[in-house]
Symmetry: C2
Subunit: 325 residues, 2 copies
Protein backbone atom coordinates (compact mmCIF):
# COMPACT_ATOMS: atom_id res chain seq x y z
CA UNK A 1 0.00 0.00 0.00
CA UNK A 2 1.45 3.37 -0.97
CA UNK A 3 1.45 6.05 1.69
CA UNK A 4 -1.19 8.59 0.76
CA UNK A 5 -0.37 11.99 -0.63
CA UNK A 6 -2.47 14.06 1.74
CA UNK A 7 -2.10 17.53 0.34
CA UNK A 8 -1.29 20.66 2.29
CA UNK A 9 -2.28 20.16 5.90
CA UNK A 10 -3.05 16.44 6.01
CA UNK A 11 -6.81 16.91 6.36
CA UNK A 12 -9.50 15.66 4.00
CA UNK A 13 -10.13 19.30 3.07
CA UNK A 14 -6.46 19.75 2.23
CA UNK A 15 -6.57 16.66 0.08
CA UNK A 16 -9.88 17.55 -1.62
CA UNK A 17 -12.85 15.37 -2.43
CA UNK A 18 -11.61 13.91 -5.71
CA UNK A 19 -8.13 13.06 -4.46
CA UNK A 20 -9.66 11.54 -1.33
CA UNK A 21 -12.03 9.39 -3.36
CA UNK A 22 -9.15 8.31 -5.61
CA UNK A 23 -6.94 7.45 -2.65
CA UNK A 24 -9.70 5.50 -0.90
CA UNK A 25 -10.69 3.68 -4.08
CA UNK A 26 -7.09 2.62 -4.67
CA UNK A 27 -7.31 0.69 -1.40
CA UNK A 28 -10.17 -1.48 -2.58
CA UNK A 29 -9.22 -4.44 -4.79
CA UNK A 30 -12.15 -5.80 -6.76
CA UNK A 31 -13.16 -9.44 -6.68
CA UNK A 32 -14.20 -11.42 -9.73
CA UNK A 33 -17.91 -11.01 -9.01
CA UNK A 34 -17.56 -7.25 -9.50
CA UNK A 35 -18.64 -6.42 -13.05
CA UNK A 36 -18.35 -2.63 -12.71
CA UNK A 37 -16.31 -1.36 -9.76
CA UNK A 38 -15.86 2.08 -8.19
CA UNK A 39 -15.77 5.23 -10.31
CA UNK A 40 -19.00 5.07 -12.29
CA UNK A 41 -22.50 6.23 -11.36
CA UNK A 42 -23.08 2.86 -9.73
CA UNK A 43 -21.35 -0.49 -9.37
CA UNK A 44 -22.57 -3.74 -10.90
CA UNK A 45 -22.11 -6.96 -8.96
CA UNK A 46 -22.93 -10.57 -9.78
CA UNK A 47 -25.98 -12.00 -8.02
CA UNK A 48 -25.50 -15.62 -9.03
CA UNK A 49 -28.76 -17.09 -7.75
CA UNK A 50 -30.91 -14.19 -8.99
CA UNK A 51 -31.54 -12.89 -5.47
CA UNK A 52 -29.59 -10.38 -3.42
CA UNK A 53 -29.46 -9.90 0.34
CA UNK A 54 -29.14 -6.26 1.44
CA UNK A 55 -28.60 -4.58 4.79
CA UNK A 56 -27.49 -1.10 5.86
CA UNK A 57 -25.99 0.30 9.05
CA UNK A 58 -25.03 3.81 10.10
CA UNK A 59 -22.27 4.51 12.63
CA UNK A 60 -21.98 7.95 14.20
CA UNK A 61 -18.99 9.28 16.11
CA UNK A 62 -19.77 9.68 19.79
CA UNK A 63 -22.71 7.28 19.48
CA UNK A 64 -21.21 4.12 17.95
CA UNK A 65 -17.51 4.81 18.21
CA UNK A 66 -15.04 7.23 19.73
CA UNK A 67 -11.87 8.25 17.98
CA UNK A 68 -10.04 8.34 21.30
CA UNK A 69 -11.08 4.73 22.02
CA UNK A 70 -10.75 3.16 18.59
CA UNK A 71 -8.24 3.70 15.79
CA UNK A 72 -9.76 4.27 12.34
CA UNK A 73 -8.73 0.81 11.25
CA UNK A 74 -10.85 -0.78 13.99
CA UNK A 75 -13.79 1.51 13.23
CA UNK A 76 -13.61 0.30 9.64
CA UNK A 77 -13.46 -3.33 10.68
CA UNK A 78 -16.38 -2.87 13.09
CA UNK A 79 -18.47 -0.97 10.55
CA UNK A 80 -18.00 -3.74 8.01
CA UNK A 81 -18.49 -6.48 10.62
CA UNK A 82 -21.89 -5.14 11.60
CA UNK A 83 -23.23 -5.46 8.06
CA UNK A 84 -21.40 -8.71 7.26
CA UNK A 85 -22.96 -10.26 10.37
CA UNK A 86 -26.44 -9.18 9.25
CA UNK A 87 -25.89 -10.91 5.92
CA UNK A 88 -24.54 -14.03 7.66
CA UNK A 89 -27.65 -14.06 9.85
CA UNK A 90 -29.71 -14.61 6.71
CA UNK A 91 -27.57 -17.67 5.91
CA UNK A 92 -25.81 -15.74 3.15
CA UNK A 93 -22.28 -14.65 2.23
CA UNK A 94 -21.47 -10.99 1.62
CA UNK A 95 -20.25 -10.30 -1.91
CA UNK A 96 -19.86 -6.52 -1.84
CA UNK A 97 -20.23 -3.35 0.17
CA UNK A 98 -20.79 0.31 -0.53
CA UNK A 99 -19.66 2.87 2.02
CA UNK A 100 -20.83 6.42 2.66
CA UNK A 101 -18.41 8.60 4.58
CA UNK A 102 -19.58 11.95 5.98
CA UNK A 103 -16.52 13.67 7.36
CA UNK A 104 -15.63 16.98 8.99
CA UNK A 105 -13.27 19.06 6.84
CA UNK A 106 -10.54 18.75 9.46
CA UNK A 107 -10.60 14.96 9.59
CA UNK A 108 -7.06 13.73 8.99
CA UNK A 109 -6.92 12.17 5.54
CA UNK A 110 -4.95 9.33 7.12
CA UNK A 111 -8.01 8.53 9.26
CA UNK A 112 -10.19 8.10 6.17
CA UNK A 113 -7.59 5.90 4.52
CA UNK A 114 -7.10 3.72 7.59
CA UNK A 115 -10.88 3.38 7.82
CA UNK A 116 -10.81 2.09 4.24
CA UNK A 117 -8.07 -0.38 5.19
CA UNK A 118 -10.22 -1.72 8.02
CA UNK A 119 -13.27 -2.00 5.80
CA UNK A 120 -11.22 -3.84 3.18
CA UNK A 121 -9.63 -6.27 5.62
CA UNK A 122 -12.86 -7.22 7.37
CA UNK A 123 -14.64 -7.63 4.02
CA UNK A 124 -11.82 -9.82 2.75
CA UNK A 125 -12.56 -12.31 5.55
CA UNK A 126 -15.63 -13.38 3.58
CA UNK A 127 -14.27 -12.60 0.11
CA UNK A 128 -16.28 -9.39 -0.31
CA UNK A 129 -15.18 -6.22 -2.15
CA UNK A 130 -15.93 -2.59 -1.40
CA UNK A 131 -17.38 -1.60 -4.79
CA UNK A 132 -18.40 2.01 -4.31
CA UNK A 133 -19.37 4.76 -1.97
CA UNK A 134 -19.92 8.42 -1.37
CA UNK A 135 -17.79 11.03 0.39
CA UNK A 136 -19.43 14.18 1.70
CA UNK A 137 -18.69 16.84 4.28
CA UNK A 138 -20.51 16.86 7.61
CA UNK A 139 -20.01 18.37 11.04
CA UNK A 140 -20.24 14.84 12.51
CA UNK A 141 -18.12 11.91 11.39
CA UNK A 142 -20.54 9.27 10.12
CA UNK A 143 -20.00 5.98 8.31
CA UNK A 144 -22.86 4.30 6.43
CA UNK A 145 -22.24 0.76 5.24
CA UNK A 146 -24.51 -1.27 2.98
CA UNK A 147 -23.67 -4.93 2.32
CA UNK A 148 -24.98 -7.16 -0.44
CA UNK A 149 -25.02 -10.93 -0.04
CA UNK A 150 -25.47 -14.15 -1.95
CA UNK A 151 -27.68 -16.95 -0.60
CA UNK A 152 -25.92 -19.51 -2.84
CA UNK A 153 -29.22 -21.18 -3.61
CA UNK A 154 -30.37 -21.56 -0.02
CA UNK A 155 -33.61 -20.26 1.47
CA UNK A 156 -33.03 -17.17 3.65
CA UNK A 157 -33.00 -17.72 7.42
CA UNK A 158 -35.54 -15.36 8.93
CA UNK A 159 -36.86 -14.71 12.43
CA UNK A 160 -40.17 -16.39 11.85
CA UNK A 161 -39.46 -20.11 11.53
CA UNK A 162 -38.78 -21.30 15.10
CA UNK A 163 -41.09 -24.11 16.21
CA UNK A 164 -41.87 -25.57 19.64
CA UNK A 165 -39.36 -28.32 20.32
CA UNK A 166 -36.52 -26.71 18.38
CA UNK A 167 -33.26 -26.22 20.22
CA UNK A 168 -31.87 -22.70 20.70
CA UNK A 169 -28.17 -22.32 19.98
CA UNK A 170 -25.56 -19.61 19.62
CA UNK A 171 -22.31 -19.34 17.67
CA UNK A 172 -19.64 -16.77 18.42
CA UNK A 173 -18.82 -14.60 21.38
CA UNK A 174 -21.16 -13.21 24.03
CA UNK A 175 -20.27 -10.57 26.58
CA UNK A 176 -16.79 -9.72 25.34
CA UNK A 177 -17.70 -6.40 23.73
CA UNK A 178 -19.89 -5.32 26.65
CA UNK A 179 -17.08 -6.15 29.08
CA UNK A 180 -14.63 -4.20 26.93
CA UNK A 181 -16.96 -1.22 26.86
CA UNK A 182 -17.31 -1.33 30.65
CA UNK A 183 -13.54 -1.35 30.95
CA UNK A 184 -13.17 1.60 28.56
CA UNK A 185 -15.86 3.54 30.40
CA UNK A 186 -13.86 3.20 33.61
CA UNK A 187 -10.91 4.79 31.82
CA UNK A 188 -8.88 1.59 31.45
CA UNK A 189 -7.28 0.28 28.27
CA UNK A 190 -6.91 -3.32 29.44
CA UNK A 191 -7.52 -6.26 29.62
CA UNK A 192 -6.54 -5.87 26.01
CA UNK A 193 -8.57 -8.87 24.77
CA UNK A 194 -11.80 -7.30 26.03
CA UNK A 195 -11.02 -3.79 24.81
CA UNK A 196 -10.07 -5.17 21.42
CA UNK A 197 -13.28 -7.21 21.32
CA UNK A 198 -15.22 -3.99 21.77
CA UNK A 199 -13.21 -2.12 19.16
CA UNK A 200 -13.30 -4.87 16.64
CA UNK A 201 -15.76 -7.77 16.95
CA UNK A 202 -15.12 -11.21 15.49
CA UNK A 203 -18.49 -12.41 14.21
CA UNK A 204 -18.71 -16.08 13.24
CA UNK A 205 -19.51 -15.35 9.59
CA UNK A 206 -19.24 -18.95 8.40
CA UNK A 207 -21.77 -20.04 11.00
CA UNK A 208 -24.58 -18.35 9.06
CA UNK A 209 -24.39 -20.44 5.89
CA UNK A 210 -23.49 -23.41 8.10
CA UNK A 211 -26.70 -22.92 10.08
CA UNK A 212 -28.69 -23.05 6.86
CA UNK A 213 -26.91 -26.27 5.90
CA UNK A 214 -27.74 -27.70 9.36
CA UNK A 215 -31.43 -27.01 8.83
CA UNK A 216 -31.78 -23.97 11.09
CA UNK A 217 -35.38 -22.77 11.41
CA UNK A 218 -34.44 -19.21 12.41
CA UNK A 219 -31.33 -17.11 12.82
CA UNK A 220 -30.56 -13.65 14.15
CA UNK A 221 -27.48 -11.46 14.57
CA UNK A 222 -26.91 -10.60 18.24
CA UNK A 223 -26.25 -6.89 17.80
CA UNK A 224 -28.33 -5.49 20.68
CA UNK A 225 -28.15 -8.30 23.24
CA UNK A 226 -28.93 -12.03 23.27
CA UNK A 227 -32.26 -11.77 25.10
CA UNK A 228 -33.38 -8.75 23.11
CA UNK A 229 -32.44 -10.19 19.72
CA UNK A 230 -33.84 -13.65 20.46
CA UNK A 231 -36.97 -11.77 21.49
CA UNK A 232 -37.38 -10.87 17.81
CA UNK A 233 -37.29 -14.57 16.96
CA UNK A 234 -39.76 -15.39 19.76
CA UNK A 235 -42.26 -12.79 18.61
CA UNK A 236 -41.63 -13.39 14.91
CA UNK A 237 -42.19 -17.11 15.34
CA UNK A 238 -44.86 -17.00 18.06
CA UNK A 239 -42.93 -19.19 20.50
CA UNK A 240 -41.26 -18.89 23.86
CA UNK A 241 -37.51 -19.41 23.89
CA UNK A 242 -36.39 -21.01 27.16
CA UNK A 243 -32.73 -20.41 27.95
CA UNK A 244 -30.69 -22.00 30.72
CA UNK A 245 -28.24 -19.61 32.26
CA UNK A 246 -25.84 -22.40 33.17
CA UNK A 247 -25.60 -23.35 29.52
CA UNK A 248 -23.67 -20.10 29.04
CA UNK A 249 -20.00 -20.49 29.70
CA UNK A 250 -18.56 -17.30 31.11
CA UNK A 251 -15.25 -16.64 29.33
CA UNK A 252 -12.29 -16.19 31.67
CA UNK A 253 -11.49 -12.57 30.75
CA UNK A 254 -15.17 -11.61 31.08
CA UNK A 255 -15.41 -13.30 34.49
CA UNK A 256 -12.25 -11.60 35.71
CA UNK A 257 -13.36 -8.17 34.51
CA UNK A 258 -16.78 -8.61 36.12
CA UNK A 259 -15.13 -9.49 39.41
CA UNK A 260 -12.76 -6.51 39.17
CA UNK A 261 -15.55 -4.06 38.31
CA UNK A 262 -18.18 -5.54 40.62
CA UNK A 263 -20.43 -6.36 37.64
CA UNK A 264 -22.63 -9.36 36.83
CA UNK A 265 -20.99 -11.23 33.96
CA UNK A 266 -24.34 -12.73 32.95
CA UNK A 267 -25.66 -9.21 32.31
CA UNK A 268 -22.92 -8.84 29.73
CA UNK A 269 -23.60 -12.24 28.18
CA UNK A 270 -27.38 -11.90 28.10
CA UNK A 271 -27.79 -8.20 27.36
CA UNK A 272 -24.53 -7.04 25.79
CA UNK A 273 -24.50 -6.51 22.06
CA UNK A 274 -21.90 -5.78 19.41
CA UNK A 275 -20.06 -9.11 19.51
CA UNK A 276 -22.35 -10.10 16.63
CA UNK A 277 -22.81 -13.68 17.67
CA UNK A 278 -25.42 -15.57 15.67
CA UNK A 279 -28.32 -17.14 17.56
CA UNK A 280 -31.14 -19.24 16.25
CA UNK A 281 -33.14 -22.41 16.40
CA UNK A 282 -32.59 -25.87 14.97
CA UNK A 283 -34.67 -29.02 14.77
CA UNK A 284 -34.36 -31.11 17.93
CA UNK A 285 -31.64 -33.68 17.52
CA UNK A 286 -29.71 -31.77 14.85
CA UNK A 287 -25.98 -32.45 15.02
CA UNK A 288 -24.72 -28.91 15.46
CA UNK A 289 -21.00 -29.46 15.85
CA UNK A 290 -18.44 -27.37 17.67
CA UNK A 291 -19.43 -23.95 16.34
CA UNK A 292 -22.75 -23.98 18.18
CA UNK A 293 -23.63 -24.02 21.88
CA UNK A 294 -27.12 -25.15 22.81
CA UNK A 295 -28.71 -22.73 25.29
CA UNK A 296 -32.23 -24.13 25.60
CA UNK A 297 -35.28 -24.85 23.53
CA UNK A 298 -38.35 -23.32 21.94
CA UNK A 299 -41.79 -24.03 23.38
CA UNK A 300 -45.37 -23.07 22.68
CA UNK A 301 -45.86 -19.51 23.90
CA UNK A 302 -47.17 -19.42 27.44
CA UNK A 303 -49.00 -16.69 29.29
CA UNK A 304 -47.09 -13.43 28.77
CA UNK A 305 -45.44 -14.83 25.65
CA UNK A 306 -44.16 -15.11 23.05
CA UNK A 307 -40.95 -14.12 24.79
CA UNK A 308 -37.54 -15.18 26.02
CA UNK A 309 -37.27 -16.70 29.48
CA UNK A 310 -34.01 -17.32 31.33
CA UNK A 311 -34.26 -20.16 33.85
CA UNK A 312 -38.03 -19.82 33.53
CA UNK A 313 -38.28 -16.11 34.23
CA UNK A 314 -38.09 -12.93 32.17
CA UNK A 315 -34.57 -11.54 32.22
CA UNK A 316 -34.63 -8.65 34.64
CA UNK A 317 -31.33 -7.12 33.59
CA UNK A 318 -30.71 -4.34 31.14
CA UNK A 319 -32.40 -5.48 27.95
CA UNK A 320 -30.05 -4.01 25.36
CA UNK A 321 -29.51 -0.77 23.55
CA UNK A 322 -32.31 1.43 22.23
CA UNK A 323 -31.50 4.58 20.29
CA UNK A 324 -33.66 7.42 21.63
CA UNK A 325 -34.60 4.95 24.45
CA UNK B 1 -52.04 6.67 5.69
CA UNK B 2 -52.80 6.70 9.42
CA UNK B 3 -51.54 9.69 11.35
CA UNK B 4 -48.61 8.55 13.46
CA UNK B 5 -48.80 8.03 17.17
CA UNK B 6 -45.80 10.11 18.13
CA UNK B 7 -45.53 9.49 21.85
CA UNK B 8 -45.15 12.12 24.53
CA UNK B 9 -43.61 15.21 23.00
CA UNK B 10 -43.80 14.46 19.31
CA UNK B 11 -40.05 13.90 18.90
CA UNK B 12 -38.29 10.76 17.73
CA UNK B 13 -36.98 10.38 21.29
CA UNK B 14 -40.52 10.58 22.65
CA UNK B 15 -41.62 7.96 20.19
CA UNK B 16 -38.61 5.68 20.79
CA UNK B 17 -36.51 3.76 18.31
CA UNK B 18 -38.72 0.69 17.94
CA UNK B 19 -41.97 2.59 17.54
CA UNK B 20 -40.28 4.92 15.05
CA UNK B 21 -38.98 1.98 13.00
CA UNK B 22 -42.42 0.38 13.08
CA UNK B 23 -44.15 3.60 12.01
CA UNK B 24 -41.67 4.21 9.19
CA UNK B 25 -41.83 0.60 8.02
CA UNK B 26 -45.62 0.75 7.87
CA UNK B 27 -45.24 3.45 5.22
CA UNK B 28 -43.32 1.20 2.86
CA UNK B 29 -45.42 -1.20 0.76
CA UNK B 30 -43.37 -4.05 -0.66
CA UNK B 31 -43.33 -4.91 -4.35
CA UNK B 32 -43.46 -8.42 -5.71
CA UNK B 33 -39.68 -8.59 -6.24
CA UNK B 34 -39.18 -8.28 -2.47
CA UNK B 35 -38.65 -11.78 -1.07
CA UNK B 36 -37.90 -10.69 2.52
CA UNK B 37 -38.92 -7.15 3.44
CA UNK B 38 -38.16 -4.91 6.42
CA UNK B 39 -37.88 -6.32 9.92
CA UNK B 40 -35.28 -9.04 9.60
CA UNK B 41 -31.47 -8.83 9.77
CA UNK B 42 -31.45 -8.04 6.06
CA UNK B 43 -33.85 -7.88 3.15
CA UNK B 44 -33.83 -10.24 0.18
CA UNK B 45 -34.67 -8.87 -3.25
CA UNK B 46 -34.98 -10.52 -6.66
CA UNK B 47 -32.09 -9.88 -9.06
CA UNK B 48 -33.67 -11.37 -12.17
CA UNK B 49 -30.68 -11.24 -14.51
CA UNK B 50 -28.17 -12.42 -11.89
CA UNK B 51 -26.54 -9.00 -11.63
CA UNK B 52 -27.33 -6.13 -9.33
CA UNK B 53 -26.59 -2.42 -9.73
CA UNK B 54 -25.75 -0.64 -6.48
CA UNK B 55 -25.16 2.99 -5.55
CA UNK B 56 -25.11 4.92 -2.29
CA UNK B 57 -25.54 8.59 -1.40
CA UNK B 58 -25.35 10.47 1.89
CA UNK B 59 -27.28 13.71 2.51
CA UNK B 60 -26.36 15.90 5.47
CA UNK B 61 -28.47 18.70 6.89
CA UNK B 62 -26.87 22.07 6.24
CA UNK B 63 -24.76 20.60 3.44
CA UNK B 64 -27.29 18.96 1.10
CA UNK B 65 -30.58 20.27 2.44
CA UNK B 66 -31.99 22.78 4.87
CA UNK B 67 -35.10 22.08 6.89
CA UNK B 68 -36.13 25.73 6.57
CA UNK B 69 -35.90 25.49 2.76
CA UNK B 70 -37.31 22.02 2.15
CA UNK B 71 -40.11 20.10 3.83
CA UNK B 72 -39.24 16.54 4.87
CA UNK B 73 -41.30 15.13 2.06
CA UNK B 74 -39.13 16.90 -0.52
CA UNK B 75 -35.92 15.87 1.23
CA UNK B 76 -37.14 12.27 0.96
CA UNK B 77 -37.97 12.64 -2.70
CA UNK B 78 -34.62 14.27 -3.42
CA UNK B 79 -32.67 11.68 -1.44
CA UNK B 80 -34.32 8.87 -3.39
CA UNK B 81 -34.01 10.73 -6.71
CA UNK B 82 -30.27 11.06 -6.35
CA UNK B 83 -29.79 7.30 -6.09
CA UNK B 84 -32.51 6.40 -8.62
CA UNK B 85 -30.79 8.68 -11.14
CA UNK B 86 -27.46 6.95 -10.56
CA UNK B 87 -29.08 3.60 -11.30
CA UNK B 88 -30.79 5.01 -14.41
CA UNK B 89 -27.40 6.32 -15.56
CA UNK B 90 -26.24 2.69 -15.78
CA UNK B 91 -29.19 1.93 -18.05
CA UNK B 92 -30.93 0.10 -15.21
CA UNK B 93 -34.19 0.31 -13.26
CA UNK B 94 -34.15 0.61 -9.47
CA UNK B 95 -35.84 -2.29 -7.71
CA UNK B 96 -35.26 -1.44 -4.07
CA UNK B 97 -33.70 0.95 -1.60
CA UNK B 98 -32.40 0.81 1.94
CA UNK B 99 -32.30 3.99 3.99
CA UNK B 100 -30.17 4.93 6.97
CA UNK B 101 -31.52 7.78 9.10
CA UNK B 102 -29.29 9.41 11.69
CA UNK B 103 -31.48 11.82 13.64
CA UNK B 104 -31.15 14.19 16.58
CA UNK B 105 -33.29 13.12 19.53
CA UNK B 106 -35.42 16.25 19.19
CA UNK B 107 -36.29 15.66 15.52
CA UNK B 108 -40.09 15.78 15.21
CA UNK B 109 -41.31 12.24 14.58
CA UNK B 110 -43.55 13.70 11.90
CA UNK B 111 -40.45 14.83 10.00
CA UNK B 112 -39.11 11.27 9.90
CA UNK B 113 -42.46 9.96 8.72
CA UNK B 114 -42.85 12.60 6.01
CA UNK B 115 -39.31 11.80 4.88
CA UNK B 116 -40.43 8.20 4.51
CA UNK B 117 -43.45 9.32 2.49
CA UNK B 118 -41.18 11.22 0.11
CA UNK B 119 -38.81 8.29 -0.24
CA UNK B 120 -41.75 5.99 -0.97
CA UNK B 121 -43.36 8.26 -3.54
CA UNK B 122 -40.20 8.93 -5.50
CA UNK B 123 -39.29 5.22 -5.45
CA UNK B 124 -42.76 4.33 -6.66
CA UNK B 125 -42.13 6.35 -9.85
CA UNK B 126 -39.89 3.51 -11.02
CA UNK B 127 -41.68 0.69 -9.18
CA UNK B 128 -39.06 0.38 -6.43
CA UNK B 129 -39.68 -0.51 -2.78
CA UNK B 130 -37.89 0.67 0.36
CA UNK B 131 -36.98 -2.73 1.81
CA UNK B 132 -35.00 -1.88 4.92
CA UNK B 133 -32.91 0.61 6.79
CA UNK B 134 -31.34 1.70 10.01
CA UNK B 135 -32.34 4.38 12.50
CA UNK B 136 -29.74 5.79 14.87
CA UNK B 137 -29.25 8.92 16.93
CA UNK B 138 -26.85 11.63 15.80
CA UNK B 139 -26.25 15.30 16.52
CA UNK B 140 -26.62 15.99 12.78
CA UNK B 141 -29.59 14.92 10.69
CA UNK B 142 -28.22 12.62 7.99
CA UNK B 143 -29.93 10.43 5.39
CA UNK B 144 -28.02 7.62 3.66
CA UNK B 145 -29.74 5.99 0.70
CA UNK B 146 -28.57 2.91 -1.16
CA UNK B 147 -30.41 1.83 -4.30
CA UNK B 148 -30.29 -1.53 -6.05
CA UNK B 149 -31.14 -1.86 -9.73
CA UNK B 150 -31.89 -4.38 -12.43
CA UNK B 151 -30.22 -4.17 -15.86
CA UNK B 152 -32.98 -6.30 -17.42
CA UNK B 153 -30.44 -8.19 -19.48
CA UNK B 154 -28.73 -5.12 -20.93
CA UNK B 155 -25.03 -4.28 -20.70
CA UNK B 156 -24.36 -1.50 -18.17
CA UNK B 157 -23.76 1.98 -19.57
CA UNK B 158 -20.46 3.22 -18.19
CA UNK B 159 -18.33 6.33 -18.66
CA UNK B 160 -15.73 4.64 -20.81
CA UNK B 161 -17.42 3.84 -24.12
CA UNK B 162 -17.65 7.18 -25.96
CA UNK B 163 -15.92 7.13 -29.38
CA UNK B 164 -14.85 9.93 -31.74
CA UNK B 165 -17.79 10.71 -34.00
CA UNK B 166 -20.46 9.87 -31.42
CA UNK B 167 -23.05 12.53 -30.72
CA UNK B 168 -23.38 13.98 -27.22
CA UNK B 169 -26.94 14.29 -25.94
CA UNK B 170 -28.79 15.11 -22.74
CA UNK B 171 -32.19 14.12 -21.36
CA UNK B 172 -33.93 15.98 -18.56
CA UNK B 173 -33.56 19.39 -17.04
CA UNK B 174 -30.47 21.57 -16.81
CA UNK B 175 -30.12 24.71 -14.74
CA UNK B 176 -33.45 24.56 -12.92
CA UNK B 177 -32.08 23.41 -9.56
CA UNK B 178 -29.14 25.82 -9.68
CA UNK B 179 -31.51 28.69 -10.48
CA UNK B 180 -33.77 27.63 -7.60
CA UNK B 181 -30.83 27.51 -5.23
CA UNK B 182 -29.76 31.01 -6.32
CA UNK B 183 -33.28 32.24 -5.63
CA UNK B 184 -33.37 30.61 -2.17
CA UNK B 185 -29.95 32.01 -1.31
CA UNK B 186 -31.29 35.51 -1.99
CA UNK B 187 -34.04 34.83 0.53
CA UNK B 188 -36.84 34.42 -2.00
CA UNK B 189 -39.35 31.58 -2.19
CA UNK B 190 -40.35 32.13 -5.80
CA UNK B 191 -40.48 31.60 -8.76
CA UNK B 192 -42.04 28.49 -7.34
CA UNK B 193 -41.12 26.26 -10.31
CA UNK B 194 -37.43 26.91 -9.77
CA UNK B 195 -37.53 26.59 -5.99
CA UNK B 196 -39.46 23.36 -6.31
CA UNK B 197 -36.96 22.08 -8.88
CA UNK B 198 -34.22 22.61 -6.31
CA UNK B 199 -36.18 20.98 -3.51
CA UNK B 200 -37.30 18.04 -5.54
CA UNK B 201 -35.64 17.20 -8.88
CA UNK B 202 -37.41 15.35 -11.66
CA UNK B 203 -34.79 13.06 -13.19
CA UNK B 204 -35.70 11.41 -16.50
CA UNK B 205 -35.51 7.88 -15.10
CA UNK B 206 -36.89 6.16 -18.18
CA UNK B 207 -34.25 7.79 -20.35
CA UNK B 208 -31.55 5.55 -18.85
CA UNK B 209 -32.90 2.20 -20.05
CA UNK B 210 -34.05 3.99 -23.22
CA UNK B 211 -30.49 5.16 -23.86
CA UNK B 212 -29.30 1.57 -23.63
CA UNK B 213 -31.98 0.52 -26.11
CA UNK B 214 -30.85 3.33 -28.45
CA UNK B 215 -27.29 2.02 -28.42
CA UNK B 216 -25.73 4.65 -26.14
CA UNK B 217 -21.98 4.26 -25.80
CA UNK B 218 -21.76 6.08 -22.46
CA UNK B 219 -24.08 7.65 -19.92
CA UNK B 220 -23.68 9.73 -16.79
CA UNK B 221 -25.95 11.31 -14.19
CA UNK B 222 -25.54 15.10 -14.12
CA UNK B 223 -25.31 15.54 -10.37
CA UNK B 224 -22.42 18.00 -10.14
CA UNK B 225 -22.78 19.96 -13.39
CA UNK B 226 -22.97 19.11 -17.09
CA UNK B 227 -19.38 20.06 -17.97
CA UNK B 228 -17.97 18.45 -14.85
CA UNK B 229 -19.90 15.20 -15.22
CA UNK B 230 -19.30 14.91 -18.96
CA UNK B 231 -15.65 15.45 -18.05
CA UNK B 232 -15.79 12.00 -16.40
CA UNK B 233 -16.98 10.56 -19.71
CA UNK B 234 -14.28 12.44 -21.65
CA UNK B 235 -11.48 11.19 -19.41
CA UNK B 236 -13.00 7.72 -18.98
CA UNK B 237 -13.30 7.31 -22.75
CA UNK B 238 -10.20 9.24 -23.81
CA UNK B 239 -12.09 11.63 -26.09
CA UNK B 240 -12.90 15.31 -26.26
CA UNK B 241 -16.58 16.19 -25.97
CA UNK B 242 -17.38 19.28 -28.05
CA UNK B 243 -20.53 21.07 -26.92
CA UNK B 244 -22.29 23.92 -28.68
CA UNK B 245 -23.71 26.46 -26.27
CA UNK B 246 -26.49 27.41 -28.67
CA UNK B 247 -27.71 23.82 -28.64
CA UNK B 248 -28.79 24.44 -25.06
CA UNK B 249 -32.25 25.92 -24.85
CA UNK B 250 -32.52 28.21 -21.84
CA UNK B 251 -35.85 27.46 -20.14
CA UNK B 252 -38.06 30.52 -19.66
CA UNK B 253 -38.08 30.52 -15.85
CA UNK B 254 -34.31 30.08 -15.77
CA UNK B 255 -33.81 32.95 -18.22
CA UNK B 256 -36.12 35.21 -16.25
CA UNK B 257 -34.44 34.41 -12.93
CA UNK B 258 -31.00 35.00 -14.42
CA UNK B 259 -32.12 38.39 -15.70
CA UNK B 260 -33.65 39.30 -12.34
CA UNK B 261 -30.58 38.23 -10.37
CA UNK B 262 -27.99 39.48 -12.85
CA UNK B 263 -26.67 35.95 -13.38
CA UNK B 264 -25.48 34.09 -16.47
CA UNK B 265 -28.10 31.43 -17.26
CA UNK B 266 -25.52 29.33 -19.12
CA UNK B 267 -23.51 29.05 -15.91
CA UNK B 268 -26.53 27.34 -14.37
CA UNK B 269 -27.07 25.08 -17.37
CA UNK B 270 -23.42 24.11 -17.80
CA UNK B 271 -22.24 24.00 -14.19
CA UNK B 272 -25.36 23.52 -12.06
CA UNK B 273 -26.01 20.08 -10.66
CA UNK B 274 -28.82 18.37 -8.82
CA UNK B 275 -31.38 18.30 -11.63
CA UNK B 276 -30.06 14.82 -12.35
CA UNK B 277 -30.32 15.03 -16.10
CA UNK B 278 -28.72 12.13 -17.95
CA UNK B 279 -25.98 12.91 -20.46
CA UNK B 280 -24.12 10.57 -22.73
CA UNK B 281 -22.98 9.62 -26.17
CA UNK B 282 -24.66 7.76 -29.01
CA UNK B 283 -23.52 6.50 -32.40
CA UNK B 284 -23.70 9.20 -35.07
CA UNK B 285 -27.01 9.03 -36.85
CA UNK B 286 -28.89 7.32 -34.01
CA UNK B 287 -32.57 8.30 -33.95
CA UNK B 288 -32.77 9.67 -30.43
CA UNK B 289 -36.35 10.88 -30.28
CA UNK B 290 -37.88 13.64 -28.22
CA UNK B 291 -36.35 12.74 -24.85
CA UNK B 292 -32.84 13.64 -25.99
CA UNK B 293 -31.28 16.94 -27.07
CA UNK B 294 -28.06 16.73 -29.10
CA UNK B 295 -25.44 19.12 -27.69
CA UNK B 296 -22.43 18.28 -29.82
CA UNK B 297 -20.12 15.42 -30.63
CA UNK B 298 -17.16 13.42 -29.43
CA UNK B 299 -13.79 13.79 -31.14
CA UNK B 300 -10.31 12.39 -30.78
CA UNK B 301 -8.70 14.07 -27.79
CA UNK B 302 -6.73 17.12 -28.82
CA UNK B 303 -3.93 18.89 -27.02
CA UNK B 304 -5.00 19.49 -23.41
CA UNK B 305 -7.57 16.70 -23.65
CA UNK B 306 -9.37 14.50 -23.05
CA UNK B 307 -11.79 17.15 -21.86
CA UNK B 308 -15.06 18.97 -22.48
CA UNK B 309 -14.99 22.06 -24.70
CA UNK B 310 -17.87 24.52 -25.06
CA UNK B 311 -17.81 26.33 -28.41
CA UNK B 312 -14.24 25.16 -28.79
CA UNK B 313 -12.92 26.42 -25.46
CA UNK B 314 -12.71 25.10 -21.91
CA UNK B 315 -15.69 26.28 -19.91
CA UNK B 316 -14.43 29.10 -17.73
CA UNK B 317 -17.37 29.22 -15.36
CA UNK B 318 -17.77 27.56 -12.01
CA UNK B 319 -17.08 23.88 -12.67
CA UNK B 320 -19.47 22.30 -10.18
CA UNK B 321 -19.52 21.32 -6.55
CA UNK B 322 -16.60 19.75 -4.72
CA UNK B 323 -16.97 18.68 -1.11
CA UNK B 324 -13.96 19.93 0.83
CA UNK B 325 -13.09 21.91 -2.34
Amino acid sequence: MQPPSTGGDGTVAGLGERALVAAVTARYPQGEGVLVGPGDDAAVVAAPDARVVVTTDVLVEGVHFRRDWSPAHDVGRKAAAQSLADVAAMGAVTTSLVVGLAAPADLPASWALELADGLREESALVGASVVGGDVVSSPVLTVAVTALGDLQGRAPLTRTGARPGDVVAVAGRLGWSAAGLAVLRRGFRSPRALVQAHRCPEPPYAAGPLAAALGATSLVDVSDGLVLDLGHVARGSGVDLLLRRDALEVPGPVRDAAAALGADPYAWLLAGGEDHALAGTFPAGAELGAAWTVLGEAAAAGEGGPRVLVDGAPWEGEAGYDHFG
